[in-house]
């Protein structure tokens, strides 16, 4: 478990270093994720070893957003006079984006003659 966690940290570090040295427009952890995925495809044994740790960790992904979320609540006072237009834009665009993305996925699959994966 400690080793698995070290692996995630290590890939994040490599990602950060690459992001800086190659001045990529992507965050270090995202680059680290792409590299780790590549390693797992080459070495499935490592994937099997870290599967459980990763799944447990990701099932509580929500927790990790709480500190930043509290920061936002503190900041709301400062934007209260433009709150309504901003909230309208955020709700509207998020609903439209999810709907448009999911419908596109569905109809592109249908055009290609691929059946939906129906949930068990």
């Amino acid at each position: 478990m400690i080793f698995h966690f070290g692996l995630f940290l290590g890939f994040q570090l490599v990602g950060e270093i690459l992001a800086r040295t190659l001045s990529l427009n992507l965050p270090g952890p995202v680059i680290g994720m792409i590299l780790l995925a590549a390693l797992l495809l080459l070495q499935p044994r490592i994937g099997q070893a870290i599967e459980k740790t990763a799944t447990g960790f990701l099932s509580h992904l929500s927790l990790l957003f709480v500190p930043a979320g509290v920061g936002v609540v503190q900041y709301l006072d400062q934007i209260s006079d433009i709150g309504l237009p901003l909230a309208t834009a955020l709700v509207g665009s998020t609903v439209l984006s999810i709907a448009a993305g999911a419908l596109t996925f569905k109809y592109v699959n249908r055009l290609r003659g691929v059946p939906d994966e129906t949930p068990e």
Binding site: F8, L9, N25, L26, P27, P29, V30, G32, M33, I34, L35, L36, A37, L41, G47, E51, T53, A54, T55, L58, S59, L61, S62, L63, L64, F65, V66, P67, A68, G69, V70, G71, V72, V73, Q74, Y75, I79, L86, A87, T88, A89, L90, V91, S93, T94, L96, S97, I98, A99, A100, G101, A102, L103, F105, K106, V108, N109, D116, E117, P119
Partner: protein
């Protein structure tokens, strides 16, 4: 009484107190979520955010003091993002098979997100840097900050917009997609990750492992799309 004050002043100096409180606030949020029968409106992030903010207000604690403890939780976002490689690897065959609909959904979902945020914001009277701050709001926050800076938005405002977008996405996605009768967890998750980044992904993992895996991919791909397309988009429309 004096003794209590002493303990309080001791604890409020170190990170332990607020770190522990953050965990318990999340456990309460999670408890409410479970009690509600996993209703998406009872979002654990939202509940913990509100609880903790109220507590900071009541105890007259600054966000800086709180964050000294909570930063250890916040820091884990990095390794958690790296860990998304695991579901990506587990679902690799299905990801490859669904590459075409995913890319189409990415381009449509990502573009609709940017364009409709700006259009609705403009219609509601927002102008200038406020409007620009909205453009990268669907991307994961480190990317959104960089993009907001680059296109002339307000990075601090963008961080807030990104997080609020995530919470909105996490709350609306299940009822919205049910109403649209979209049942495939790949498409459901993917669209949620594109529109609502990590918080949407966290929600997708609560629903189904497949939805979570595809949401993680949607989040990463939209981070890339936003970094590439947002400056172009702004160049065209501003």
């Amino acid at each position: 009484m004096n003794e209590i004050l002493n303990i309080w002043s001791y604890l409020s100096e170190g990170p332990l107190l607020w770190l522990t409180v953050t965990f318990f606030a999340y456990l309460i949020g999670l408890g409410c979520f479970n009690l509600s029968g996993n209703k998406p409106v009872v979002n654990p992030v939202l509940i913990s955010m509100v609880l903790l903010s109220a507590l900071l207000e009541l105890t007259d604690t600054s966000y800086a003091t709180f964050f000294e403890g909570a930063q250890f939780v916040h820091f884990m976002l990095g390794p958690a993002t790296v860990a998304l490689a695991v579901p990506l690897w587990q679902n690799w065959q299905r990801v490859k098979a669904a590459a075409v609909p995913m890319l189409a959904a990415l381009v449509v979902g990502g573009t609709v997100s940017m364009a409709s945020a700006v259009a609705i914001g403009y219609a509601c009277g927002l102008r200038g840097e406020l409007l620009l701050s909205l453009v990268p709001k669907a991307a994961t926050s480190p990317v959104a900050i960089g993009v907001s800076e680059a296109i002339g938005g307000l990075p601090t405002l963008t961080v807030a917009l990104v997080l609020i977008t995530g919470v909105i996405g996490a709350v609306v996605t299940t009822p919205l997609l049910n109403a649209l009768r979209i049942r495939d967890y790949r498409g459901r998750g993917f669209a949620t990750g594109v529109a609502a980044h990590g918080i949407g992904t966290a929600r997708a993992f609560q629903v189904h492992g497949t939805a979570g895996a595809f949401a993680g991919i949607g989040m990463v791909l939209n981070a890339i799309l936003t970094a590439l397309v947002a400056p172009l988009f702004v160049h065209l429309f501003f």
